[in-house]
């Protein structure tokens, strides 16, 4: 029972992450009709916003380490700690959550530049060309990040106070072994908030209404004299922010390296397609579905019946869903079907 409860919790958490990553992708699909292979790169850039912010906070005075004689080794003492003492150390400790404030404007700018500078010229081009150009862009972005930060993962811990786990079992009257990391719970809540805000934004604002109308029937909306194009630019910016925030918040769970976006690329496509092209609720539902199923498939009891099931579960589910429901869970007819 405890184990099942834990796996459900864990599945929800994974699902939240998947949904968050897929959300931006499906926004871009649905509105702009662009297959954005650089979406993973946006996630990666978000993660490196956190890294950069952490690096900025820990800009250090280099003190020669006399114990090492073979070469010049330095102990690093962050300026913040020198100037502000314990307060400085506390600020550094909270680098990852604080970096959100940096990530939002940075990702917005990156998104706008990307859309205006490149993506807008590809609205009318074939999907194949969109794939090639965004994939090329993703590689270039990756390599640039690699040349600055190296290829190794960089530790980006959560603040000390929420680095450990909560005894969730005690809250629900379950066993002592039901513990779950605070940060993962924060991630789940954060994902739900972001997803909720995006929905609310599209649902309740005039801007959102136009965007939704544009998604449904671009031509008519344009004929009405509304500048859909400019709004879509902003949508791309929002998608970049969402992807970037997903990346920032993921860093304490997975120390980021330059390749982290590529690792999520395939997965996010699967989530989006299982959810159904052009459907935001679909993407969210698929994210949670795949997260929970993946958690369960990894249980030893299940693996002993189907060896290797945890390796393929995501793809297996994708195949089954797509065969049962032609357009994924909630896909609309005619979107990306040709």
């Amino acid at each position: 029972m405890d184990a099942i409860f834990l796996q459900i919790l864990n599945g929800l958490d994974k699902g939240g992450a998947y949904a968050l990553i897929a959300l931006g992708l499906t926004l871009v699909f649905g509105t702009l009709g662009v297959v954005n292979f650089a979406h993973g790169a946006l996630f990666m850039l978000g993660a490196f916003c956190a890294v950069t912010f952490q690096k900025l906070l820990t800009l250090s005075k280099q003190v020669k380490d006399e114990s090492i004689t073979f070469f010049d080794a330095y102990k690093e003492i962050p300026y913040l700690e020198i100037w502000l003492g314990d307060t400085g150390a506390a600020i550094i400790d909270w680098a990852v959550p604080l970096s959100i404030f940096m990530a939002i404007p940075v990702m917005l700018v990156i998104g706008l530049i990307m859309e205006r500078g490149l993506i807008q010229y590809f609205y009318k081009r074939s999907h194949a060309e969109q794939i090639l150009v965004t994939f090329g862009l993703a590689i270039v972005l990756q390599e640039i990040v690699k040349s600055f930060f190296g290829a190794n993962p960089i530790p980006t811990p959560a603040p000390d106070i929420i680095a450990g786990s909560a005894n969730v079992g005690a809250w629900f009257g379950l066993g002592d072994s039901v513990v779950y990391p605070y940060w993962r719970m924060i991630y789940l809540v954060f994902a739900l908030i972001v997803i909720g805000s995006v929905f609310a934004f599209l649902q309740f604002t005039t801007f959102g209404m136009v965007v939704r109308a544009g998604m449904a029937d671009r031509e008519t909306v344009t004929l009405l004299g509304i500048d859909v194009e400019r709004r879509f630019t902003i949508v791309f910016g929002i998608a970049a922010i969402v992807a970037g925030l997903a990346g920032v918040m993921y860093t304490p769970i997975l120390p980021p390296d330059y390749h982290i976006g590529m690792d999520f690329l395939v997965l996010s496509f699967v989530v989006v397609v299982v959810g159904g092209m052009g459907s935001l609720p679909g993407a969210v539902a698929a994210g949670f579905l795949l997260g929970i199923l993946q958690s369960f498939a990894s249980m030893n009891e299940i693996k002993s019946i189907f060896p290797g099931i945890d390796q393929i579960i995501i793809y297996l589910v994708a195949v089954v869903v797509l065969l049962v429901r032609p357009r994924g869970l909630m896909g609309r007819k005619g979107v990306m079907e040709d």
């Binding site: 090639l132 390599e143 040349s147 395939v266 390796q311 357009r327 994924g328």
Partner: protein, 388 residues
């Protein structure tokens, strides 16, 4: 009609193509690419891309799981070596057939969907193959280490005729050892045959039907035309090309590894095809050559090599150029590749061949205002492709 049932123009194309492939060891020399292994890779991946293009270029169905066929072709070929004989003929035949069989299965299921749904289905199947081959199926695939031919393998046929392997087993084509240049020429022969078949398909009523499906499948269906069997046939043919490419990889180098089936490998052939030009005859091969060239040659440039290259310059200029170029070669070859993808797709829409074509046609148009307007758009492009 006439030469191999080709029109005069196609026959000429065929001859030029064959000559270019067979003479590759000479004309690729100045590019530093005329060594057997890379030439083999050119031929093998060229074949892979040609096959992929039969599906993607003609029908518009974008498969993201073609590496599965490459992989199963490889594994079958190694098993054929292990169990039957080091002769490459059974390996090629069995490898291609098993890939075809897998393609029937995957195609039958995946072709029930179109567009991106189809892409994700093929991706899902290929990823399942990869993950299982890497882990659970290790007894068959030898996992990470890769499946190899060992001296004490049964090789029933070889032993029956009294051939005993000494040293490391090497593929064999009736006495000719499949390594170095003989192996390249074997692959080249396969490539030329593959190109010929592809040319015939492009020109056939079957190819025309596929193109019709691409331009408007719904209309085809409304006229009472059942598209599914044609699509499946195209998918299987394309899968068999991939399988054959997989067996050739084993023929030239008797080893099969699971990472051949990973999505990055599937993605690579997609990129090759788009880079060269989707739906063109020569494009996919060009794309394959370009990507493999970058992977093997650019990645090998280190600072020392760069200094050699620029050594004719004065020192300060030499250092300047080395600093500029360095991030793009060696460990930075990915950067060059990514930039190349973007540059080509931005400036040469439709890939290399299409792009050149347009440039070429624009100039021609300027020269003589004879518009090619009367030609059917796709047909015209295809014709023009053949001229290249």
């Amino acid at each position: 009609m006439g030469f191999f049932k080709l029109s005069a123009r196609d026959a000429l194309l065929m001859v030029i193509f064959a000559a270019a492939v067979l003479l590759a060891p000479i004309w690729l020399k100045p590019f530093g690419a005329a060594y057997p292994d890379l030439l083999q890779k050119f031929a093998i991946f060229g074949l892979f891309a040609i096959g992929f293009n039969i599906l993607f270029g003609l029908t518009g169905y974008l498969s993201f799981g073609h590496a599965a066929f490459l992989g199963i072709g490889s594994y079958t070929a190694v098993w054929s070596f292990k169990l039957l004989s080091m002769n490459v003929i059974p390996a090629v035949i069995f490898g291609t057939l098993t890939a075809g069989l897998l393609a029937v299965l995957i195609g039958f299921v995946s072709l029930r969907r179109t567009g991106i749904y189809f892409s994700i289905l093929t991706l899902a199947f290929a990823q399942m193959c990869y993950n299982l081959a890497y882990s659970v199926l290790t007894p068959i695939t030898n996992g990470e280490t890769g499946l190899r031919v060992l001296r004490d393998d049964p090789m029933v046929l070889d032993r029956a005729v009294g051939v005993i392997q000494e040293g490391s087993p090497i593929g064999d084509f009736f006495g000719w050892q499949m390594q170095g240049f003989p192996a390249f020429y074997f692959c080249a022969a396969m490539l030329i045959i593959g190109f010929y078949v592809s040319l015939r398909i492009f020109r056939s009523p079957f190819g025309l039907k596929l193109r019709a499906i691409k331009s408007n499948q719904t209309r085809m269906r409304y006229t009472g035309f059942n598209t599914r069997p044609y699509l499946l046939l195209a998918f299987v043919i394309s899968g068999m090309y991939a399988g054959m490419a997989g067996t050739l990889m084993v023929v030239t180098d008797p080893l099969a590894g699971a990472e051949r089936m990973q999505w990055t490998a599937s993605g690579e052939v997609v990129l090759m095809t788009i880079l060269g030009g989707v739906g063109t005859l020569l494009g996919p091969i060009l794309g394959a050559v370009l990507i493999k060239y970058f992977e093997n040659i650019f990645s090998a440039f280190n600072t020392d090599v760069l200094h050699d290259v620029f050594s004719f310059m004065p020192d300060w200029l030499e250092n300047f150029f080395v600093t500029i170029v360095h991030p793009f070669v060696g460990e930075g070859w990915h950067l060059t590749l990514g930039t190349l993808f973007m540059v080509i797709v931005i400036f040469l829409p439709g890939g290399l061949v299409e792009g050149f074509n347009r440039l070429f046609q624009r100039r021609k148009k300027k020269a003589s205002s004879e518009a090619a307007g009367s030609r059917v758009a796709t047909g015209g492009e295809k014709q023009a492709t053949a001229e290249n």
